[in-house]
Symmetry: C2
Subunit: 355 residues, 2 copies
């Protein structure tokens, strides 16, 4: 049990106790990742209360330094939880707690009220400590190396799926254990769909080739996007689109520092793209926080006025998606430092024509 | 929109409308799988009501034959939902609806009450139609072929991780698109942990080698376990354990037919293992339902008294986990037919010594 991390969460909590269900948050606190699937998993933390982990008997807790309450598939989970929850207090839950577990607790009146206080956990997880920063740096270093290898997979007649299928082995050859998310490999107009999944599209001369990829290193994620051109240089308008996205990415990164508001960083990139005439084709937030999950709480978007603090790590990923002209996204991870930021990705952003 | 499937769900619903959030259930109804990540995704179905899909603007719905209500990252999801939900009715939700979306609906009084009626969806999905059965059969056929290839990856000095890393390419060579779950490869005593994740354990002479593996074919899952021995035949007690598990598996499969209760199928296998003296080492349910997800609703366990009906597909996977003696699990998928069952896996179960 990482008492320092638990104390930070409790200090930020309005309620007196919180039932944390997110396996990644439980790993953050215990050092161990459980995969409960459809089974219940929960860690009850309270002020002046001994923490307790509720764990199905199928899983082995190991030596995690917290009391473990085991149960089996035929036990009544709500009854079990009710015995440990203080009925006179409001119970905080985390955002991912599922209706199948939450509604029975409510029906039994297990607490005086129920509130979503994920923010107390999320805000703690959003500030990485030195141990986490070292792993995030290494994960992105692997991503840079892997991107160079991925470009070598591009050849006449290849499909997106065939390229994507070879990426995991490359990550593993550099010491990563897994993807941080299913890789996006998009050719041609497919790059104009920001969430395109690799399919049997065959590479055509003049295609855009977009890689949005990341790996996990000791559980910590990387996430980077680069957009290339196959065989032919982009036409004038596609080149303008590329440079708009690149400028938006670089100018936004320049203002990342302690005290900068996330919404202002988003605005910096969005204004550049809007002034270039493509504002309507930049359809998503500028970035997201990242750690042991590819998407952690915290957006670089107009709706988020948090001020950056040292230890924040998030993506800066402007894009323009316009079928028939171009689909371009350029993404790095940035770490907020004491006096500015460190861009964790170093793969070049110049226009690169693959051959 | 698969109206036949939606009508079955509505017929089994106590409430007047249901908000379905499970992406796999939404795929079951619309034919399209969305990966919403932390964003809201929901399909509102009601008696005498036009269905509506709530989809973030980041995703393209395509031609799915249902009204799509788009929203952006800065929209208020609860306000949007409230406008479409009938405030005078009880709203059914599904089991995976998350606290971050459910609690705000409750706070705003969007419905007269909230109940988890996942069962109406789950019971419909638990009866596979002919189209689904054909895909499930093919997925398990690939799993049988792949298991034969996996045994060839076992050699002196190899680690579990090295073996596991090669399995995806083998599945894909047979036409599968992905794993149905992270493969379990366990050597020696690691096989006595039913949820062991492949690590850097090096194969030793005399080790048990357990594969619990499955793939996805057109979205449909397979799942099979076989337990092998490396170089040396098992000692007498390990052989007895193996044969107990095999007998439990085969005898349970023999009684799978329409009208059989799931708890009785579990009992059949459990009694055999208990009479053999290892009841306490069989620590999980006998099986689980499966379809587009590896674990779907429906357990073959003492707590489940459903009667089997044609079209049900579930696993039969007894195991004995006893460190120092043996960790053995043998698993097949079975399909309930009109007059019995069809075992979807055909990989042999005789004791096999790999060399």
């Amino acid at each position: 049990m990482r008492k320092d991390r638990a104390d930070k969460i409790l200090a930020g909590l309005d309620a007196d106790e919180i039932l944390i269900c997110d396996p990644e948050s439980i790993r953050y606190l215990t050092g161990k990742l459980f995969h409960p699937g459809e089974r219940f998993l929960g860690l009850l933390l309270g002020k002046d209360k001994e923490p307790v982990l509720f764990l199905n008997a199928l899983f082995e807790a190991g030596d995690i330094g917290v009391r473990v309450h085991k149960f089996t598939d035929t036990d009544d989970v709500a009854e079990m939880l009710k015995k440990e929850i203080n009925p006179d207090h409001v119970l905080a839950v985390d955002k991912i707690m599922q209706a199948r577990f939450l509604l029975p607790l409510m029906e039994r009146g297990a607490a005086k009220g129920f509130v979503n206080e994920s923010l107390a956990v999320d805000k703690t997880r959003a500030v990485k400590d030195d141990e986490e920063i070292a792993l995030m740096r290494k994960s992105s270093e692997i991503n840079d190396l892997a991107m160079a290898e991925f470009t070598k997979l591009i050849h006449e007649g290849v499909t997106e799926e065939e390229v994507a299928a070879q990426t995991l082995a490359i990550y593993q050859s550099f010491g990563a254990e897994a993807f941080s998310f299913t890789p996006i490999v998009a050719f041609g107009d497919n790059a104009a769909d920001p969430h395109h999944m690799p399919d049997d599209t065959v590479l055509q001369d003049g295609d855009i080739v977009l890689f949005d990829v990341g790996c996990k290193y000791h559980g910590y994620c990387s996430d980077m996007t680069r957009t290339f051109f196959w065989k032919k240089a982009p036409d004038a308008e596609a080149e303008r689109v590329y440079n708009l996205v690149r400028t938006a990415n670089e100018e936004a990164e320049k203002i990342c520092r302690p005290g900068a508001r996330l919404c202002d960083i988003d605005k910096k990139a969005r204004d550049i793209i809007t002034e270039g005439g493509y504002g309507e084709d930049f359809t998503h937030r500028l970035g997201h926080f990242i750690g042991t999950e590819d998407h952690e709480y915290g957006d670089v978007s107009s709706g988020f006025d948090w001020e950056c603090v040292p230890g924040n790590i998030f993506s800066i990923e402007p894009g323009i998606y316009h079928r028939g002209i171009a689909g371009v996204r350029i993404e790095d991870l940035v770490l907020i430092t004491e006096d500015g930021c460190e861009v964790l990705n170093h793969y070049p952003k110049d226009i690169q024509i693959l051959k």
